[in-house]
């Protein structure tokens, strides 16, 4: 029943490791996003894909690599994790025609130690 689901929900890992977060949506949307929320609750877009095509790529270190195998999935791989990567990462989706109504997942809490 979950509209936008992402796994894992919690992730604790050491600096230098590589980790992935997976996301799937069953809403039939054509656009998916990754947002990062820091400890002050500031929510910033990282990437957006429309029908598997990258359309928004904010100033994000190239250690972050999104991959969209199909329009219902958008994964985020992070290489060489740093302390500053600790945050909550939200996957989201929408229709490109109404891209102001964004549906968010529950978030993935990443802690780098």
């Amino acid at each position: 029943d979950t509209a936008v689901s992402q796994t894992p929900k919690y992730l604790v890992t050491q600096m230098g490791n590589d980790k992935s977060i997976k996301c799937e949506q069953n809403l039939g949307h054509d656009t998916m996003y990754w947002y990062k929320q820091d400890s002050k609750k500031f929510l910033k877009i990282m990437f957006s894909y429309n029908n598997k095509e990258l359309i928004i790529n904010e100033t994000v270190p190239n250690r972050f690599s999104p991959k969209s195998p199909d329009k219902a999935h958008l994964n985020l791989h992070i290489n060489s994790l740093e302390l500053g990567d600790s945050a909550v990462y939200f996957c989201a989706s929408s229709l490109i025609s109404s891209a102001y109504t964004i549906y968010f997942g529950e978030g993935s809490w990443l802690t780098v130690v």
Binding site: K40, K41, F42, L43, I45, N50, I55, F90, A92, Y100
Partner: protein
């Protein structure tokens, strides 16, 4: 009571009173303004939007007001309930190209029973 955005302030309201959450925006090219609600431990959830050519829109217990002259947006919640306790974000969508939704820094609403 009311609160002004763009650093995470806290607004405390007695249950049953009306709440007003304010937000200032900077981009005159935005075509939609949106309010999202984020409950603790969850992802943001769409509440209501307003198109830039409107100055007021009402939903169920919520009203959004847009003042383009002073670039100000507000969310009014009538008869505030404990379930309204959350962080509220204003967001704006820039028109043209791939419309990116940019979030403000949020206001925490605490409802006192």
């Amino acid at each position: 009571g009311e609160s002004v955005g763009l650093h995470l302030p806290t607004l405390s309201v007695q249950e049953g009173d009306n709440s007003i959450i304010n937000c200032a925006y900077s981009n005159s090219a935005s075509d939609y303004f949106i309010w999202y609600k984020q409950e603790s431990g969850k992802g943001p959830q769409f509440i209501i939007d307003i198109r830039s050519n409107m100055d007021k829109r009402q939903g169920q217990r919520v009203t959004v007001l847009l003042n383009k002259t002073v670039k100000h947006l507000s969310l009014q919640i009538a008869a505030t309930q404990p379930g309204d306790s959350a962080v509220y974000f204003c967001a704006e969508r820039r028109s043209g190209g791939y419309q990116k939704v940019t979030f403000g820094t949020g206001t925490k609403l605490q409802v006192i029973p």
